[in-house]
């Protein structure tokens, strides 16, 4: 009985098509690696710029989701805050707020928060987190968690608090954003500037 060459040819054809499909992904990975290497080269060149500050004087303080540094494990941390020897990290990629004890770096607690971006903590320890495209402020307090929504939120990215004054940066879903503030515990909002 003759071997079924037709099937073999078909399998080979699919293998070639499959390989062609993988090439763009491989190229993209290589481009990303090259970009990272370019950045490193740029930094190294800057070291020769007679500016000692361009030498890396940073040190790893703690790692997320791992016991060691993992290149390009992209946690997308956009804000960070300290309150009473607790370090608060909104992990945007993993939709979590992670709270670490200082100085040992042990995880104290975590909360599920959608798209956590900017964070601020008031003098009583109440935590406010902007949820970016979810258009809300997620609040964590002793009595539990709550979500504040307002038609005046427009992709809120960042929040700052001083006493009872709370101001929020709306990044905006079109060409401009704006700043809004509240002085009544996020019940009502006012335009800060006309930008």
């Amino acid at each position: 009985m003759l071997p079924n060459y037709k099937n073999h040819i078909m399998h080979g054809k699919y293998l070639i098509i499959y390989a062609c499909m993988l090439i763009p992904f491989a190229c993209e990975k290589k481009i990303k690696e090259d970009l990272i290497n370019i950045n490193k080269i740029t930094v190294l060149e800057n070291i020769n710029d007679n500016n000692s500050n361009m030498i890396n004087k940073t040190k790893p303080f703690l790692y997320l989701n791992s016991s060691q540094f993992e290149e390009n494990m992209d946690n997308s941390i956009y804000d960070i805050a300290v309150y009473k020897d607790r370090l608060f990290i909104p992990d945007f990629r993993n939709n979590k707020l992670i709270i670490f004890e200082l100085p040992d770096g042990n995880i104290s607690s975590t909360f599920d928060v959608p798209m956590p971006h900017g964070i601020a903590i008031d003098k009583d320890g109440v935590i406010y987190i902007c949820t970016y495209r979810k258009n809300s402020i997620f609040v964590i307090e002793d009595s539990g968690t709550r979500t504040i929504e307002s038609h005046q939120f427009n992709w809120p990215l960042s929040i700052a608090i001083k006493d009872t004054y709370i101001i929020i940066a709306n990044y905006g879903n079109d060409k401009s954003g704006n700043l809004i503030y509240s002085d009544d515990g996020l019940n009502t909002f006012h335009q800060f500037t006309n930008d």
Binding site: M54, P60, Y165
Partner: protein, 120 residues
């Protein structure tokens, strides 16, 4: 300023600090919304965050990944290497500047004595 506010903070005097993208700039407002100081940056600067340190300001640049030091009038004083994986934001704890990053799974520390040596 017709732009995208990326980060907002309140300094010890109660003034509002804002960094804007697209039309990049740093602006300090009083609580009435009046501009006290501003620095319109070039389009080669993408300001991501701002933090006050001893009445000066540290700003991260999303394009070159460096940390820039400005005085209270927003004049540039110095710049520092930001760790290499897109520094996004800062907080101060004891004598350390803690730095978050976009493209890595870590928090960095930077000894503030290095900045003190610029300020002194």
């Amino acid at each position: 300023m017709d732009s995208k506010p990326q980060e907002i903070r309140i300094n010890k005097k109660g003034e509002i600090l804002v960094v804007y993208r697209n039309l990049p700039g740093i602006v300090i407002y009083n609580q009435n919304g009046q501009i006290i100081a501003q620095n319109k940056l070039s389009d080669k600067f993408d300001p991501i965050s701002i933090v006050e340190y001893k009445s000066n300001y540290l700003v991260s640049d999303g394009l070159d990944g460096q940390i820039y030091l400005y005085d209270s009038s927003l004049n540039k004083l110095d710049q520092y290497y930001g760790g290499g994986y897109s520094p996004t934001n800062f907080t101060i704890w004891n004598n350390l500047l803690l730095i978050s990053e976009e493209r890595a799974n870590r928090i960095l520390s930077f000894n503030l004595e290095i900045i003190d040596s610029t300020l002194n």
